[in-house]
């Protein structure tokens, strides 16, 4: 695996984490806990951003943006489904795709 491909894979993992954090944030009822989630959403976004900045082209959309988006959605859904199976309530699995889209736009990774 080339270095770029490896970085893309790591970026996908971290972006999926950020999306999972975002979706779980909405599933939280307790106000105090929600504050922690906000912080974690921000932290995971920063990690994903760090890896995005290592992948060329930096300021423009990535050529494989559609594949990347599909992989992030798949990974995030997988992670959330494990939780749903284990009895975690109020998880809105349909919000994964729009959350991913929004994240990639922020990270300048997808086509406008």
């Amino acid at each position: 695996m080339t270095s770029r491909n490896k970085l893309v894979r790591i970026f996908i993992g971290n972006a999926a984490n950020a999306v999972v954090h975002k979706v779980l944030e909405k599933a939280i009822e307790e106000e105090n806990l929600r504050k922690y989630y906000e912080k974690e959403v921000h932290n995971s976004f920063l990690i994903a951003k760090k890896y995005r900045e290592m992948i060329n082209p930096v300021g423009r959309a990535l050529p494989e943006s559609e594949d990347i988006k599909a992989d992030i959605v798949k990974k995030a859904k997988q992670e959330l489904n494990i939780r749903i199976k284990k009895g975690y309530k109020n998880i809105d699995i349909d919000s994964v795709s729009p959350a991913t889209e929004k994240l990639l736009k922020k990270l300048k990774a997808n086509k406008a």
Binding site: N17, R83, Y88
Partner: protein
């Protein structure tokens, strides 16, 4: 008139301004040349010259800051003389309370004092790697309890060239954090406080909170080759702090390190930090630990929800 300037009190008579004034009065009476007001001015001048001190303010300059001196000033402060500049107001000494911090370098102790002096709050706590031996810390973690922290990060960066991570919170939030968050607990296992504090930790497991913390550690296996040693250690530490917390043990840095070494083998913490650990055996054991902790959290969430429904 300017005989006054030439007037010098003999060295042996320099006992104080009053003595000097009496000597001068005797000199005036003898010469009968000065009025009462002139003698008063003279006396005033003597007092000023004897004081040899001026209180001035440091003002900001473009390349250097400066202190402006009035033209009418004690002779001892004439052009070309060397002076000492020191603060006019003595700052109140603050004695920090250190907890589980055996030794701190003098320069760090000074920084701690300066930070405490410049924050107006009910209490201020400094924690994290800054208090560990040596200078391998990334930033200073500062918790400001019930107080103002505006511009604090800039102040610390400007004065000490260090990055600060400032969190403002109430006493209740601090207590809640210590009771529910293993990472917070671990961060506060060693700290310096402006005011004396006693923490009574009553652990309360919030599984959903632990779930979000654990999620961070999930990415370690696939990023292993790209991460620096300290990041690998942080992610592993995160996982084991949560593990200890679930086992109802207090998560201190030392206990977490011991738990890591017990799980992976002796010397793992050192090798992780030094980034000299081989991937495969470590990752296999890591995934096993992750699964165990994750399953325990999920079981907790499921139980809580069932209890809520039954209630």
């Amino acid at each position: 008139m300017f005989i006054l300037k030439k007037y010098k009190v003999p060295r042996k008579n320099k006992a104080g301004p009053l003595h000097e004034f009496l000597l001068f009065s005797a000199f005036c009476n003898k010469n009968n040349s000065l009025s009462a007001s002139e003698s008063l001015i003279y006396y005033y001048v003597i007092l000023r010259n004897m004081a040899n001190e001026i209180i001035a303010r440091i003002s900001i300059g473009s390349r250097m800051d400066q202190v402006y001196l009035p033209k009418n000033r004690p002779m001892a402060l004439s052009i070309g003389s060397y002076v000492v500049v020191s603060p006019a107001i003595q700052q109140k000494e603050i004695k920090p309370h250190y907890y589980h911090t055996r030794q701190i370098e003098p320069i760090k102790a000074q920084i701690v004092q300066e930070i405490f002096r410049n924050i107006d709050a009910e209490n201020v706590i400094i924690a994290g790697s800054f208090l560990e031996k040596g200078f391998c810390f990334e930033d200073i973690d500062i918790i400001v309890i019930n107080g103002k922290a505006e511009g604090l990060e800039e102040f610390i960066e400007g004065n000490f060239g260090l990055k600060a991570h400032v969190i403002r919170m109430s006493q209740d939030a601090l207590r809640a954090g210590l009771n529910t968050d293993p990472l917070f607990q671990m961060a506060l296992s060693r700290f310096a406080a402006k005011e004396r504090v006693i923490f009574k930790i009553q652990p309360e497991i919030k599984h959903k909170l632990l779930d979000i913390h654990l999620l961070k550690s999930k990415t370690l296996p696939e990023q292993f080759e790209h991460l620096e040693g300290k990041d690998k250690y942080k992610l592993t530490r995160n996982l084991f702090a949560i593990k200890l917390f679930l086992e109802e043990k207090t998560a201190t840095k030392e206990k977490v390190s011991k738990a890591i070494d017990a799980w992976f083998g002796k010397g793992t913490v050192k090798m992780l930090s030094a980034n000299t650990l081989s991937k495969n055996p470590f990752i296999t054991k890591y995934k096993k630990a992750y699964r165990k902790v994750f399953n325990a959290i999920m079981a907790g969430i499921s139980n809580n929800d069932k209890q809520k429904q039954a209630g």
